[in-house]
Symmetry: C2
C-alpha cells in the first residue's frame, strides 16, 4: 500500500546476522509442517515476502514458511512443533501494522490466521461477540447489521481483530468507546509451550488474579498467539451529528478540545487537521476551507442529545476563537463536513507526488498537545521536511506523515532525525512514544528510554513466559544487549 525502503536502518533497525538463524531447526520444522498441513504450508518467495511486508520504511524480513491455520488446534500444533525445534513464530492477520510487527528477523514460521474468520457467537443481551482472530472489524460489523449493535474501534485499516488486540490498536473514536484495551473481555491464547489458556471470562468486570488479558493485549505476539476474542459491542446510536470548525492556531483548537472534554461532552470523535493537512484536502477534494487548523467532530446519542452536544461545542468554539462553525445531523451533510478527514491520508500523499511516506504516532497529556504539535511542526520546518499532522486529539494522540524523496540519502537522513526526535519529545512532555501503533521493531530503543527500569521487568516477563524466545522475537524488547 505504502512505499517502503528497499534496505536500510531507518528507525534504528539493524540487519540480523545470519548466524543467529536456527537453520537446522527451521528446516526440520518446515518439513514436519509441510507433511501435516500440505498446501496450507507455503514456502514460495512471493507469499513469504507478502507476509514480511511491513507497510513502513522498515525493510522486509520474510519468514521461511507461511502456515494457514484453520483452528486453535492447528495453531497449538504449529507452536508445539516450532517450540520443540526452537524456531520463531510470527503471527499474521492483515499485515496492516505499522512498526514492522510481521517481520521475521530470525526467519521462522508466519502463522496466518486469515482463515480463522468466523464470528462464533453474538450475545445481544450482553453486548459482546466471540470471534476468531482473523475476523476483520468491518466483517464483524457486517455480521452485526441486523442486531442494532456495532463494534466501534476503527484504526483506519480494515484490520483483523486478533491483530488489533495484539497491537493495542484504537483510532478516531477511542475518546468515546476506548481502545482495544477497554474492548476485549477475554481471549483464548496459545502460549509458547503450545498450551491453550483463557485470559478472562464474559463477565464485564473481574478482580480475579493477575490481569492476563491486558498483559496479552498489546504484547504483539511476543507472549502468545491469540486464537479467539470476546469483544464488547455497543448499541448503534439513535442519532449522530457532525460538526466542523476552523481555528486561528493549534493552541486555540486544543483549548476547544480541552474545554469539550472538561465539560463532559461525550464526543464520539474529535479530530485535528493542521493547516498543511487542510491545504492538502482543499487541493484533493476541491474544498475551500480556511487553511488553518481544523477540528472535525462527531456526536452520538439521542436526537435531542446530539443536537445539544453539537450546539454546546459551538459555544465552546466561539469562546476559543473558532470560526466557520457548522454542524448537521443529516447523513449527506455529515459526510460533506467530514470529507476532509475521510480523504486526509490520500490528500496528504498528493502534497508531494512520488514521495515516500512514513507514518508515526505519539500521545501526550492533552494540556501538552498544542505544545507537542507546534514543536513537531517547527522541527519538521527546521529539518526542511514536509510533515502534515492529524490527530485523535480527544486523547492527545496525533500522527505525523513524513513525505520525502526516497532516492535522496540526505533527505532520508533528515527523516530519520525527525523519527528519532519525535518520541523523545513525547517522553519529555509526559507522554508515550506510541498511542496506537505499537513498538514492533521500529521503537524498541525508544521504549527502553520511556519505560526506564520497567524495561527490565518487561524482559523478565518475556524470558519467563517464552524462555526460548520463539514468539515474534525482535519485537518490543531486545533480550540480548
Amino acid at each position: 500500500m505504502q512505499p517502503r525502503f528497499e534496505k536500510g536502518t531507518l528507525c534504528g533497525m539493524k540487519q540480523c546476522p545470519n548466524s543467529a538463524r536456527n537453520e537446522t531447526g527451521i528446516a526440520t520444522t518446515i518439513g514436519i509442517l509441510k507433511q501435516r498441513f500440505g498446501e496450507l504450508c507455503q514456502t514460495g518467495e512471493a507469499i513469504r515476502e507478502q507476509h514480511g511486508h511491513t507497510t513502513t520504511g522498515i525493510e522486509n524480513q520474510p519468514p521461511d514458511a507461511v502456515v494457514f491455520a484453520q483452528s486453535t488446534q492447528d495453531v497449538a500444533e504449529i507452536v508445539r512443533v516450532a517450540a520443540e525445534h526452537k524456531v520463531p513464530i510470527v503471527p499474521f492477520g492483515t499485515g496492516t501494522s505499522l512498526e514492522g510487527h510481521v517481520n521475521a528477523p530470525l526467519g521462522g514460521i508466519s502463522v496466518d490466521v486469515t482463515k480463522m474468520d468466523n464470528v462464533l457467537d453474538v450475545h445481544t443481551d450482553d453486548l459482546d461477540a466471540v470471534v476468531q482472530p482473523g475476523v476483520t472489524r468491518k466483517a464483524l460489523n457486517a455480521q452485526l447489521r441486523d442486531t442494532g449493535l456495532f463494534f466501534p474501534i476503527d484504526p483506519g485499516a480494515d484490520a483483523s481483530l486478533g491483530g488489533m488486540a495484539a497491537t493495542g490498536a484504537s483510532g478516531t473514536n477511542a475518546v468515546r468507546y476506548g481502545t482495544m484495551r477497554e474492548s476485549v473481555l477475554s481471549m483464548e491464547v496459545v502460549l509458547p509451550s503450545g498450551e491453550i489458556i483463557r485470559t478472562g471470562t464474559r463477565a464485564r468486570k473481574s478482580s480475579a488474579g493477575y490481569d492476563l488479558n491486558h498483559l496479552m493485549i498489546g504484547s504483539e505476539g511476543t507472549l502468545g498467539l491469540i486464537t479467539e476474542l470476546t469483544v464488547k459491542l455497543h448499541g448503534v446510536p439513535e442519532a449522530m451529528s457532525s460538526a466542523r470548525c476552523s481555528f486561528p492556531s493549534v493552541e486555540a483548537a486544543c483549548d476547544a478540545v480541552i474545554a469539550t472534554i472538561q465539560m463532559g461532552v461525550p464526543v464520539a470523535r474529535i479530530e485535528l487537521l493542521d493547516a498543511l493537512s487542510v491545504r492538502a484536502i482543499n487541493a484533493y477534494s476541491k474544498l475551500s476551507l480556511p487553511e488553518t487548523p481544523l477540528l472535525l467532530l462527531e456526536f452520538h446519542g439521542s436526537t435531542a442529545s446530539v443536537a445539544e452536544q453539537a450546539e454546546l461545542f459551538g459555544e465552546i468554539a466561539e469562546d476559543t476563537s473558532g470560526n466557520n462553525f457548522e454542524w448537521s445531523t443529516s447523513p449527506e451533510e455529515r459526510t460533506r463536513l467530514w470529507q476532509a478527514r475521510h480523504d486526509a491520508y490520500w490528500a496528504q500523499l498528493r502534497l508531494r507526488p512520488g514521495a515516500m511516506s512514513l507514518a508515526t504516532d505519539v500521545c501526550v497529556p492533552i494540556s501538552n498537545l498544542a505544545k507537542a504539535v507546534t514543536r513537531a511542526q517547527s522541527k519538521a520546518a527546521q529539518l526542511d521536511l514536509m510533515c502534515p499532522i492529524l490527530g485523535h486529539v480527544g486523547d492527545g494522540n496525533f500522527h505525523c506523515t513524513l513525505l520525502f524523496d526516497g532516492e535522496s540519502r540526505e533527505e532520508k537522513k533528515r527523516s530519520e532525525a525527525f523519527m528519532e526526535w519525535l518520541p523523545e519529545m513525547a517522553i519529555e512532555l509526559e507522554g508515550t512514544i506510541s498511542g496506537e501503533h505499537g513498538i514492533g521493531q521500529g521503537k524498541i530503543d525508544k521504549l527502553a528510554k520511556q519505560a526506564g527500569a520497567a524495561t527490565d521487568l518487561m524482559r523478565t516477563i518475556k524470558r519467563a513466559v517464552d524462555p526460548d524466545n520463539i514468539m515474534n522475537p525482535g519485537k518490543i524488547v531486545r533480550l540480548a544487549p
Copy 2:
C-alpha cells in the same frame, strides 16, 4: 468493623505451619528496621493484630512488625532489607479489603502507607491527579472540591487509593465510570528487588510495550508495592437524577437492566436489592416499599439529559412489569429515593441481631444475572441460611451477605458450603468468582478452578518477578502444591 471467626478453615484457609516462618530473617530485619525507622517501626501486639485484621471470617494472622513508610524511598529501603533476608512484606492501606489480603500467614513486615497521604498534583486540563497510595477516595474528593472535578470510584468503604488499585476495586458507579482498572493511568511501584519503576505515563492511551500498569492493578501486593498513582478524574455532572422502581421478580428487574444497557442509557448507578434486602430496609428505615425486588438508579449529565434518561428508564420499567416508579432531580428527594441503598448494609445486619456476617461477591454476564441471583436465593433457602443480596447490576456484579450464628458449628458448616458453591456457580454461568473483592487468601482454590491452565501462567509470572516469594505471600496463587 464486622465480626469474624476466632480460628477456622472457612474459605479453605489453612493455618500455616510455623516451620515455614523464616525466624532468623524476620528477627534480623526487624532489628535493622527498628534502628533505621525508630518509632515508625512498631512491634506491639495490638498494632500487629490491627494490621492483620481481615474484616472477614478469615482468621487474623498478624505481621511481626509494622513500619509506617513516609516516602517511596522508605518503602524501597524496607523492601531491600526484607529482600536481603527473604522476609515477607505485606502492604497495608486502610485494611478494608475483604479476602484476607492484609494477613501475614508467614509473618514478616506490614508496610503501612497511611502516612503517604499527599495529593501531589491535580491537572485540571488533563482530568488527572497524582496521589500517594495512602490518600483515601474521600480525602481526594475533598481536595478536589473547588476544581469542578471528582474521582468516581466508590467501593463503599473509604479505602486508600493504593489499596483500591492493588485489589482492582470498583463499586456502584463502575457501570458508568469503570473500575480501578480503567481509572489508573500510571503508577510508581517498588519491585521485590527494591527497584522503583513507573508503569505508564500521563497520556490517556498508550501502545508502548507490555501493560505493566494493568499487571500491577489487582495484583494485591504480590508483585510490588504501589507508592504513587496517577488517576483519572471526571467533571462533576451539571445535574443528577435518581429513580426507584419495584419489580414482581428478579427476572423482571434484570430484564429492565438489560434493556437500559442495550438502549445505551448512560446510567451512572443501577443497584438491585432483593426482596429480603427490601424487607430489611423497610424495618431499619421505617419505609413501606413493596417487599419485592427493587432497582435504584442514578443518572448524571446535563439537566435535559438526566430528565430524558430517567423518563426513558420509566418507559423501560413499564415494559418490564415495573411498578411504583418514581424519579426526581431535587437533592432531598434523591436522598429519600436512595435511602434504601445507603442503609442497606446495616439494615441487612439487623435482620438477625447478634449474627456474624460474611460478604462475598461474584459477577456474571448480564444475561445470566437473573439466573445467578435466583440460584443463590434457592441455595441459601435450601441450606436454611439468611442471605440478603444486592448488586451493582449494570455490570452483572452482586453481593451476598450471609448472616449466621457464629457459635453454631453446624451453621458455620452450612455457610462454608454456600461459600464453596457460589463461585462455582458463577464460573458455570460464564462469570468470575470475584467482580471486585479480589482473591486474597479466601478464593485461591476457586481462582485455580476459574483460570485453569492460566493459573500456571500466573505462577510463572509471580516466580519470575518475585523469585523469593516475599511480596504478600499466600495470596492469589499458591506456589508450592
